[in-house]
Symmetry: D2
Subunit: 358 residues, 4 copies
Amino acid sequence: MAGSTFGTLFRLTTFGESHGVAIGGIIEGCPAGIEIDEQLIALWMDRRKPGQSDVTSPRKEADIVELLSGIFENKTTGTPIGFLIRNKDQASADYDYLKSTFRPSHADFTFTEKYGIRDHRGGGRSSARETACRVAGGAIAMQLLQLHNISIHGWVSSVGTITAPDNVEINDAAIFGNSVRCPHPETAAKMEALIRETAQSGDSLGGVISCVVNGLPVGLGEPVFDKLHADLAKAMMSINATKGFEYGMGFAASRMKGSEHNDAFIKNDTGITTATNRSGGIQGGISNGQPILFRTAFKPVATIMKDQVTVNAAGEQTVLKNKGRHDPCVVPRAVPIVVGMTALVIADHLLRQRSAQL
Amino acid sequence: MAGSTFGTLFRLTTFGESHGVAIGGIIEGCPAGIEIDEQLIALWMDRRKPGQSDVTSPRKEADIVELLSGIFENKTTGTPIGFLIRNKDQASADYDYLKSTFRPSHADFTFTEKYGIRDHRGGGRSSARETACRVAGGAIAMQLLQLHNISIHGWVSSVGTITAPDNVEINDAAIFGNSVRCPHPETAAKMEALIRETAQSGDSLGGVISCVVNGLPVGLGEPVFDKLHADLAKAMMSINATKGFEYGMGFAASRMKGSEHNDAFIKNDTGITTATNRSGGIQGGISNGQPILFRTAFKPVATIMKDQVTVNAAGEQTVLKNKGRHDPCVVPRAVPIVVGMTALVIADHLLRQRSAQL
Amino acid sequence: MAGSTFGTLFRLTTFGESHGVAIGGIIEGCPAGIEIDEQLIALWMDRRKPGQSDVTSPRKEADIVELLSGIFENKTTGTPIGFLIRNKDQASADYDYLKSTFRPSHADFTFTEKYGIRDHRGGGRSSARETACRVAGGAIAMQLLQLHNISIHGWVSSVGTITAPDNVEINDAAIFGNSVRCPHPETAAKMEALIRETAQSGDSLGGVISCVVNGLPVGLGEPVFDKLHADLAKAMMSINATKGFEYGMGFAASRMKGSEHNDAFIKNDTGITTATNRSGGIQGGISNGQPILFRTAFKPVATIMKDQVTVNAAGEQTVLKNKGRHDPCVVPRAVPIVVGMTALVIADHLLRQRSAQL
Amino acid sequence: MAGSTFGTLFRLTTFGESHGVAIGGIIEGCPAGIEIDEQLIALWMDRRKPGQSDVTSPRKEADIVELLSGIFENKTTGTPIGFLIRNKDQASADYDYLKSTFRPSHADFTFTEKYGIRDHRGGGRSSARETACRVAGGAIAMQLLQLHNISIHGWVSSVGTITAPDNVEINDAAIFGNSVRCPHPETAAKMEALIRETAQSGDSLGGVISCVVNGLPVGLGEPVFDKLHADLAKAMMSINATKGFEYGMGFAASRMKGSEHNDAFIKNDTGITTATNRSGGIQGGISNGQPILFRTAFKPVATIMKDQVTVNAAGEQTVLKNKGRHDPCVVPRAVPIVVGMTALVIADHLLRQRSAQL
């Protein structure tokens, strides 16, 4: 129970450190008969990989996903899908100074205390490099969802204090048409400028990623502990640097009255639906056929280029001067991770739902 | 995988419907040798049970937890602890009108679609009555935590738009000294007044519960998917009516710069710690020895006494007039649930940590 | 992970000690919409319960299963089915002498060492009383199987050195028409005589239970670790007093040649089948449409009425003189347990199979 | 829940098909701080790999285990250990004739029915090639066990009707000193002769592997479903071609009387132990400090070089003439698999035991 497996029926287990030979994973429980589009996997890997623009880390990784099993003549066979992503541009020497220093708000100290040993190179297992495996796994889950006409869109809705307006039209062209992954061009331009400016000052930023799932049938999610939004919350909060999750009206709902928040049921041509969607598509932990809407907050990147007070492994007070290649703001590259993790949750609940009725 | 089990090593599985004979559960994995104080279980059950004040539901339940196994001569034996809570004051007839009507923002519609059948009496399995089992389970987990000097305090930090000031002193006397469970007396008085007034207008309120865990050793939480805060997020979001979760600086962190958010490591008499605790006691998903701080948002209660547009099971548009006994604001009674679920998460990670090192 | 849960999708978790207030369990994952026949549950409980004949323990237990949740208007609702079986005729005082003595080939010593504490009354959690919950759970699983025309028959095929002939016709009337549960009347008579005679001499017997599953569709069982026979083996070996498991030709297969053991595929009116069934209905861990056949060996009951050398809790050599009520041979009463556990395994794999294909 | 994961705390998940690019796995939950000896892994891989003698398959595989993560400066770090074994000498063309033919007593038919698609090359996922990952995983588990002075020895105790005498001295030199892995030289010679002779006649053989675990502390194994022998049974029965499992006196116990089978407790210098070990080192599912003893039966290899009646994918009756490279008797190469799976079970229960007591 060491925490590197996600999901119950559709499951991803990952391995790998930032500067090891390779990272990778195993997807278990993917049904047989899905035609796999490797281009789609590559597309999502590209959307996450570093070195794409001046607002992300200059580390260069091809991030090519080698599919090793579970697919025969382009179709899933029902057996585990093993995959591998080689680490190429490690530059581990850049991290030698971290061997004996605990970076503030990083996991260096907690890993060392937890395990008594730590692969310090590039953050080891606590590096966000691990999330590449989630994107690969998510891109396979998506191919199951596509066959059920379910789509997922994630986008950057705020960077620092700059927030995109609500009701922007959401589509991949708009989201991925700029380097910050914000579908509102004017806001995107402001976000990019802020990131550049903050990076130049040696500082870093946080932000919020919004996500919507469309096309979900009614009935997904298990009552009690495995509510659909509880599993989404866990999925999101398992991503590096996240600090908060909300769905539907979220924290704002806590300030509303019942008469303002409730979604009236109405009958239309397609059946029973709700007049509004303040619930964010989920009632009692179960999807109600409306779009699923949620937001995830990310803290500012912990690695900054300013001097910081810290302690070394010998327990002595010291001053940290960071080196290495880092994103000044993680949210643009986190969009594919949010989307991938969402795909994993939905795929899992889609399969779980198959046992609900006789 | 039907979602009624929580935890991996310290596990709670629950059963029961609001108006069935009984609800109950099984705790698996509780270590042998813990002296169980039944009074403490009763205390937490009392803090959750309805009918205690004019700001909660008038349903009367003794909520006595019958411990059926796993305890011998007052000590846990390491075998499963089965427990039962009889339902007494069901008044199911009050709910006959719900047989064929879907209450807005309740789980009536989604349960019916998911399973093709629904125990409509009092909300069935989707009723918050189920959470009594979590409080019972949590009160047992707490007795393991006490032996490790770990304490948990939850309190109401906002009701609707009324918010308690930060830095209030947190202790059980202050929290449970009033019916809204807010440790700041003046704010508590305002919250009570607002709840009363809103109830009289036939409407309902939401709110926020804050929680702090003190005394946690460094090293709890598993990297990658089972980060400590990811499991806390799932635990909180699995509670009825929750809409959001944040820890440390939460959503506000997304608007800060790295230089403002990072917690500098310092050396003091007890070892390595941090100068500030914006991280909320967790770094890289692993506890760092500082207090764990998080907040959970609850929506306004879906049952209101105003007429609401809805649809009945025959698919006809209708108007719902609610009956039954309901809380106008759920947060005061949800405090023991938040505390109980937190205790379950911490107990589980305490045991998981036993396998981290050789 | 304390080992009181069985199954993955159709799951039974049990609790309870031999001389506690009650034993019971929770079934999770039972699909909604199954009409539950409580008489069938009672029938299987009766077939297991003690005090039925002079070849079983005289302990009297009504063994009435109280269904507490998950069933509404006689149908499963998809929510957890909680159930309770009260302990009535405990006679714990009979076991006071065991407080400080380790009975040979019982779990008294190992429990004490494992947990540092032991509920000694009647064997506590290690008593076969716990298996009553398996029979209850199995009887619910069976009702899912019946709707798929799957049937399970278990019977006593040997007691000590007396073995029933092969190719006896297997049906409930023949099996339960005598107190030893052997469908071959002459053999049954010999078995009964042997049990009586052995009991009179203060000694005990073991035996073998055979089991057949008919009507299973092709495709159940997961490759690699969760092969259908691997899960059956675990199920059987988890029953108290079992020492061996074999399916198909079993140990005898190890002495055959491939040309003698292989089952030729043939085509008949219903499709592809095998000419023989030496494989016991499973190939590569997956059901092939033929009857599943397996045998489970039980050791002689450890409690005998002869003096035995042992050690007490103080570590002193002593002589044990047994008291209490015990079966001289466990296999007749174990038939419903074998059948129940088989039903749980098959129900689980039936649901798991729903995710195999797109 | 697709069945490619084994264990709860110490867990192995595997992937890979016989003729894919590679097979591999992930070990989760291995405690940090174990010094890993790669030579030991290589040794066990060599003991399993084909092409070593004239009694095994001539397929040549280097079977080099690439360790990709979780180990830093030769020590486990507590993070998942990913590993890869490249497939080299696939010769898939040899299997083209199997594309449309179901081999008797192989999994070709059941896989096709289960998934609707099948990677037929070399048996795909149902090939025993998959077990190489179990040997690799087991060899890592063993390094945890060695630090607890626990040792495991498996050996061939029968091939066809040739059986080694009891009470042979068991050590690695004796076991691996001959190609059949039987520690009794005269019996080994007879076994080798029988295998050669049977192979020449185009037929195949089965056999039995015995296994002993020494040095296990008292207390391992969980009561009820996860009894130590139940998990061992599942582990063994999950290995390809197994038909039966027994521990202690096994099936023979069913023919003994209680007074003949019970193990008297005695006190000696080291504490409480038993005078005999008919229980096979386990009582009530929990280790009692005596050696664990069990036996696993393997059927004769299904691939024989004689013509066999079968059906093709078009449902037509046909005659199969086998090609490809196969073992005439699987048990010599299965010894490392039995040992590896045993190591995984023991490592898992060693970690589970850490939560038994306060």
